[in-house]
């Protein structure tokens, strides 16, 4: 196996398991039509750093930070206006809801639209903690905000989400 191929294989083996994580983050950063471009650019940027001899100690927070930077650059560059999706996202149709969790039956489209009703800081903090599974300390380092501020944003965002989706949550609970 050539050195070149080995570098690619090592990178992909280490980073592709985090694709869902990056995808979830990109979905809450940029407009739906730009999501896949941002994900692709995140991985190609990451590969550049990796192949230059700067592999990370932990892949997930490293990729999430690159995705955050990529998404923000993308928004500046393309002057993309972010909108709440009004049409159901076709990519969601094939995805099953989380099994075994009553509230998981709330439709993903509704949750996605509700997340876009939150201020950006709350949306990003919730995505990183509740969807991507990072700790408040990790999110604090990624976003450059104190840990207390991260938790306050997450808590306010969660309350607002619960209120926006109150009817669906109550229906499921009933």
């Amino acid at each position: 196996m050539s050195m070149r191929k080995r570098t690619h294989d090592e990178f992909l083996q280490a980073t592709l398991p985090a694709l869902d994580l990056v995808y979830n983050l990109a979905r809450r950063l940029v407009d739906a039509r730009d999501v896949e471009d941002v994900v692709q650019e995140t991985f190609t940027r990451a590969f550049g750093a990796w192949s230059a001899g700067r592999p990370p100690r932990k892949v997930e927070p490293w990729l999430a930070t690159i995705c955050l930077n990529t998404g923000r650059s993308w928004l500046r560059r393309a002057s993309t206006t972010r909108e709440v999706p009004t049409e159901p996202d076709p990519t969601l149709a094939a995805i099953d809801d989380v099994a075994g969790d009553a509230i998981g039956n709330v439709r993903k489209e509704a949750v996605h639209a509700a997340l876009w009703e939150l201020p950006e800081e709350q949306r990003i903090a919730i995505t990183l903690m509740d969807l991507d599974g990072f700790t408040a300390s990790q999110v604090s380092k990624m976003t450059g905000s104190p840990r207390g501020t991260v938790l306050a944003r997450v808590h306010r965002g969660r309350k607002r989400l619960a209120r926006i989706l109150e009817k669906e949550v109550d229906q499921v609970e009933a």
Binding site: L19, T91, L92, I103, G148, H155, K159
Partner: protein, 224 residues
């Protein structure tokens, strides 16, 4: 202690309340409708958010793989750079080994251990204001830290992050490798995830916390 359901619920759900404070809050929410509602809403919101987790489309996986494979690996640095780097590392390692850092004085170690454990001692009269910047005093208790008797003043910020100010009658020993300010009145040290600032005036105080921003705010507010 000011009753702030949102702040305390955020701290509780975020795992910042530990030990006795966590148990106290859990007893409190049974009787406090406002706090109960905050915690309940926070939990529901978290479950709702988690239900929004999605899987990336398979086509995107293939697209990413193909895109990465078309990118040429960046040229790594030539071998002589690594050789020079290796020599530098060995030299630094030798210097470090010759100057193995001493451990911190026992009083400083005890203060850090006390902060990390979240242990609360016998209540004591506070010597400090009810508020320091955005942080609110939630309790004061006695602490025996190495050879120093101190009063631990526990402050929390809006989301429950804790900063403890240990006030003593005698001077605190200096942490190893501490950075001093120009006037020599304060020093700062970082230990793993904690930040420590020591002030001599108006009280001999050791400010400890895991959020450097909060620790600096408190230390700044304490300055005469």
């Amino acid at each position: 202690m000011k009753h702030d359901p949102e702040r305390h619920a955020a701290a509780y759900l975020g795992g910042l309340l530990k030990g006795a404070r966590r148990q106290m809050f859990e007893r409190h929410i049974v009787d406090c409708e406002d706090c109960w509602r905050e915690v309940d809403l926070g939990r529901k919101g978290r479950s709702v958010a988690e239900a929004g987790r999605e899987l990336a489309p398979q086509a995107l996986r293939e697209r990413v793989r193909a895109a990465v494979e078309t990118v040429s690996p960046r040229r790594r640095r030539p071998l002589w750079v690594f050789g020079a780097g290796l020599v530098t590392i060995v030299a630094v390692a030798v210097i470090v080994m010759m100057a193995v850092p001493e451990p911190d004085p026992g009083e400083i170690q005890a203060a850090l251990a006390s902060y990390r454990s979240g242990s609360v001692g016998v209540p004591a009269q506070s010597l400090l204001p009810e508020r320091l910047s955005d942080l609110e005093l939630v309790g004061a208790d006695r602490a025996q830290l190495g050879g120093i008797d101190a009063i631990a003043h526990r402050y929390v910020d809006r989301s429950g992050d804790e900063v403890v100010v240990y006030v003593a009658d005698e001077e605190w020993p200096i942490a190893v490798g501490a950075e001093h300010d120009n006037a020599g009145q304060t020093w700062l040290a970082e230990r793993d995830d904690l930040v420590v600032i020591c002030l001599n005036q108006p009280h001999s105080s050791l400010v400890v916390g895991d959020d450097s921003h909060d620790v600096e705010l408190v230390a700044y507010s304490l300055r005469p």
